[in-house]
Symmetry: none
Subunit: 215 residues, 4 copies
DNA sequence: CATGAATGAGACTTCATTCAT
DNA sequence: TATGAATGAAGTCTCATTCAT
């Protein structure tokens, strides 16, 4: 009924962060179903009960992990697109490498694998992820491509399909990083930077408007 | 020492096929860990015990499913590349649409999702899959790109990275089909044909050698 | 697919009985919520898993216990009423002592306590019990009282209310037997036979039609 | 050594009352085991810790609830019997309707259900309840019946057994009110007033001494 | 060959009680 | 006095695998 003691309050404010930080790599590594609540708690240095004090179920914990880790990213990227002043080819480069550095490189990107892997077993989780992550990301890329077309830099392509074609290799790399690349599996090695460069190269060449008289 | 009764023998030979046919869609739908052995047996019309008679563990069953369904596909595609006589752009189109029709459309493509989703929990399974499926497919695309370069049709790109950039959207579509698209999840709808067309278009434009004097 | 081996079949047929027999006294002693599934299994001499093989949840087990133990009783009593030829006072006596001997004395009567105790936490269970047990029993007593009135043996009382007034002490004794009497609690001892006799005495005296000129 | 601040003192004195008032309806609704300490505290507007400050365990809280709510009732009824001047039939009527109005109608009556339901899991609680509630009530009814016999109004019945037979329907109604009647369960509806009337009617008729020459 | 009853480790979640603040 | 974060034992239910028949 009184305001909680400062120390207590601080602890209470810090716990969710600790739990989310512990949960993210575990979810990414094992997936949703195979991640045990107790393990998350242990990694966070608390007991099983404490976890349930902050998140009433494993599903809620997962949603919190998604929201907590994605929110900022989408916002930043949106501003980057809105504030872009240079050529759209440059913007696209920036978007791709920004994604690569901030999303795919970190653990956050691994969440895509988790959701993709378990949509059919946990549709509600997937819907949440699509609403919070997929849709905003899609809008971002579409607006970027539309910008290229409007400014006469890109050919008049199918915006939605092209957005997917642009994102696909990014997602592919992201998935790869958190699946095959994270394991001692021989034979599916790839150099993400090189693939990224190849992809960007193909895109720029493949999308730009040709000079007159050129095929 | 007498030969088994004909019916018996036929049954013995037929069982594995039934089991594999029952297992494939279940693995694709639920993933490896979440697929219950009992369900596979029931779908195959046999008892749980019988399943374990033919496949000593769920892992073995999964490997058999992979091998049984992939073998032919890789072979066919290899021959198509070897026997190609037209332009490499046409060959690439053929490879992409062949893949789409035979792999991504059928249940087989779903296996990629399963493996990707559970590499980190079942590395041995993944290794098997990479050996049997990923490596051969990679070699195929690489040899196709190399052909394009050698014949002066494609620019001198990084073969391996480009192969991945070429395959990435295919894999992306394949994963999508068996995850988000297979569920009543709103907001991640896409038209695979259109994405495929956009991708092929970008590739052809992005890889081909330009006429002299053109940027 | 073949008919199961005789031994196996017999075992499968016997299990439910064993489980129900193990469950009844435990439910009666501890109540529904406090009875642990594992304890039921142990008492039945099987493992936890086996219990869930036959009854998919504790609720289902409870329902099976109710149905299995009550069915016959209601039937018998119904026939007793239908076949009665003597006076209704005698029939009532028979009904009361039949109930006492077969229901209240055995463990079955304890189920009433369990349901009554946990209606508000498990309404579905209670509804089931009311449908299977309470309603049939009510009908029985009502038809008995109606018989007494129609044959001019009983005063013209409110049939439904009187049925409850007749049953009430029976239920009371039944509850008592499985609660206070089953515990080392001092101070609520009572002699059921004596209470039963007092009750029957009061009933017979209280319900019968008086001779003319008598108050 | 100084006297506590007036507000403080008042609070200290008021807390137990708040807690008991919050606990009673919860115990009655859910039973002893299923009532959560936290819920009681919340309803009382205090923290979990405070509850344990006043009552060292849930059992102690329950005992306090029993004692706090019953004490007065028994006293009143005892005086009513001692001070009775009219016929014993009237006294009995008064006792029954007094009980009905003050005990069964209020939440207090629900405690009987709780104890009855959980005697076997918490014998100590039950012993406490019997000492504080059951025994006094019994004595009350016995002395009332004895009065009827001594004054030549009642037949010479077994006092103890008859007392139980008299109380049984009351207890039955009280239990019913707090179990089946408090739930959306169809099929065990009853009109307490009518049952009460039927019971009183049967009792008066069944206990009174007959005029000479009457059966 | 085939069966399917049986097992038991293990996962999620709840809650009485404690104790540092 | 009062708080409420933290604990951890306990309970329900699942499922891969075995083995007697």
């Amino acid at each position: 009924m009184d305001t909680p003691h400062p120390t207590r309050r601080r602890r209470k404010e810090v716990r969710p962060q600790q739990l989310l930080d512990a949960a993210l790599p575990l979810f990414v590594e094992k997936g949703f179903a195979a991640t045990r609540a107790e393990e998350v708690a242990r990694q966070a240095g608390v007991s099983k009960g404490t976890l349930y004090l902050y998140y009433p179920s494993k599903e809620d914990l997962f949603k919190a992990v998604v929201r907590h880790n994605i929110a900022a990213l989408i916002g930043e990227a949106g501003q980057a697109v809105a504030a872009a002043s240079g050529s759209t080819a440059e913007l696209m480069q920036a978007l791709l490498s920004g994604w690569w550095e901030r999303v795919a490189q970190s653990q956050v990107g691994g969440l895509h694998k988790v959701v993709l892997a378990e949509v059919r077993n946990f549709p509600e989780l997937a819907q949440f992820y699509v609403d919070e992550v997929v849709r905003p990301a899609r809008r971002l890329f579409e607006s970027m491509i539309r910008r290229g077309i409007e400014r006469g830099e890109f050919r008049r392509v199918d915006v939605s399909a092209t957005a997917h074609a642009v994102m696909a290799p990014m997602i592919f790399l992201m998935l790869h990083k958190h699946s095959f690349a994270a394991c001692p599996v021989q034979g599916f090695e790839l150099d993400p930077q090189a693939v990224l460069a190849a992809h960007a190269d193909i895109l720029v060449e493949g999308l730009r408007v040709r000079a007159k008289g050129c095929p």
